[in-house]
Subunit: 267 residues, 2 copies
């Protein structure tokens, strides 16, 4: 087949490229269509109804482009709209919450897991539900960290201001006694070095991008949807508005390569 | 007249309430309709085409509500869409750039003005153009400060992290020799104490909200559009998405009072 079906990946903006990076590393034969809703980013402070409406629009665009699977590379959307998307579309839909929760339960020794994310993700309680549905005895401490995304988008990945903000957000979780921390926002892997520095060596970091890529691989294998090993996977990036500086920050930090950005009109 | 026409005020989100505060203080007899596009905030990192499209939609809604004048309480929109709005609508349209630029030229002694704002505002060069169109010899040093809005929206109005970020943004402007600084974003008056602290007493701060309110008063007077002095002006707030925490931050810091928030559907 000369034009195998791509994996569709969408996010509220550019942050989901951390998931794309994990997918590229793990599934180099797959072609990926990335769709970032930069015209309406960020979703983290928007209402559930609005996030669901936007998610349906983006998913519809990817299905129209013949995506064989859909990856919701955004914790906010995963936490709010995954059941809706799964109901509406026949292709497999993979979010970042379930895989992250599963990995956290495998990592924790003291059954006390921390979760950080945007306001919308934390307010949704999605990680808490996902963690508890597997292990009813797990203790979850969660915290919204609204400043981390802007700091990342400013490119302050290795900076004392960012370090101070991280320490301020994480101190309460540490004193509550977590031994594992879920990075519940697809931007956050870009801060994993700084967060690791703030946490010391005692705490296990769970990167939802990595665990999402593992879940995608499992589902493609189970449904015999993998592209042939001879195929060279490509990466296409479409955005709903012109890219700003953060695209360069993410591309450089993740060492991703892609061609010209397509501008995708919203309905 | 039992139902005099209101002044329509719009912004990408909640920040424009600083302009509302200045209008309420100065024009207590006027009823104000505030429309904040919280479903698509922030505009500061979006493209000019997208900002223009959003601005037209919001302005149209206010005109449908019979606004007698339109205040663009957003530097990003003022810097990008004001000529378009002025062309499209017959009611007077007042932005924040011209009044701020005028006040800065009155304040500066050494003819060297600093301007801070969002990326979109600074990239547009709108303050520079407005300043130079009056005084071709004025020197302008400008700087985008993308972290200030998220810090304000987190409520960190009096905080050492915010102070450090402010100092980092302002130091280059100070060493270039400005004697006047325009707060070119409607959020920034909420940080005027912190910014004043960082600047010391030598630099004059120009608050675009205050100067915009003065300009509105002048235009209403000139066009005989003022409400009768017997009228008790009301404030109505409509948002395109549910309000988040920042509404409380702004309401408390500005000591504004308004009733229930109306949810305004987008077209």
């Amino acid at each position: 087949m000369s034009n195998p079906r791509p994996i569709g990946v969408f996010d509220s903006g550019i942050g989901g490229l951390t998931v794309v990076k994990a997918l590229r590393d793990r599934l180099p034969n797959e072609t990926i269509l990335y769709l970032g809703d930069t015209a309406r980013v960020p979703y983290g402070s928007k209402s559930p109804e609005t996030v669901q409406r936007y998610a349906l629009e983006l998913a519809q665009m990817l299905v129209q482009k013949n995506a064989k699977a859909m990856v919701v590379a955004c914790n906010t959307v995963s936490s709010i709209a995954l059941p809706l998307l799964t109901r509406k579309f026949s292709v497999p839909v993979i979010g970042v919450i379930e895989p992250g929760a599963r990995a956290a339960l495998e990592a924790t020794r003291n059954r006390h897991v921390g979760v950080i994310g945007t306001r919308a993700t934390i307010r949704s309680g999605a990680y808490e539900k996902a963690l508890r549905s597997t292990d009813n005895n797990v203790l979850v401490s969660s915290r919204a960290c609204p400043l981390l995304v802007p700091l990342i988008e400013e490119g302050l990945l290795d900076d004392d201001v960012t370090d101070r903000v991280i320490v301020r957000y994480l101190e309460p979780l540490l004193s509550e006694g977590i031994d594992t921390l879920v990075l519940g926002c697809t931007h956050y892997p870009l801060l994993s070095v700084a967060i690791g520095r703030a946490l010391g060596g005692e705490i296990t970091l769970v990167d939802s991008a990595q665990n999402c890529a593992t879940a995608v691989q499992e589902i493609l294998d189970r449904q015999s949807l993998r592209s042939p090993a001879t195929q060279h996977g490509e990466l296409h990036v479409a955005l709903t508005d012109a890219a700003d500086n953060f695209l360069n920050v993410a591309r450089d930090a993740l060492q991703l390569s892609f061609g010209e950005i397509e501008l995708q009109a919203l309905p």
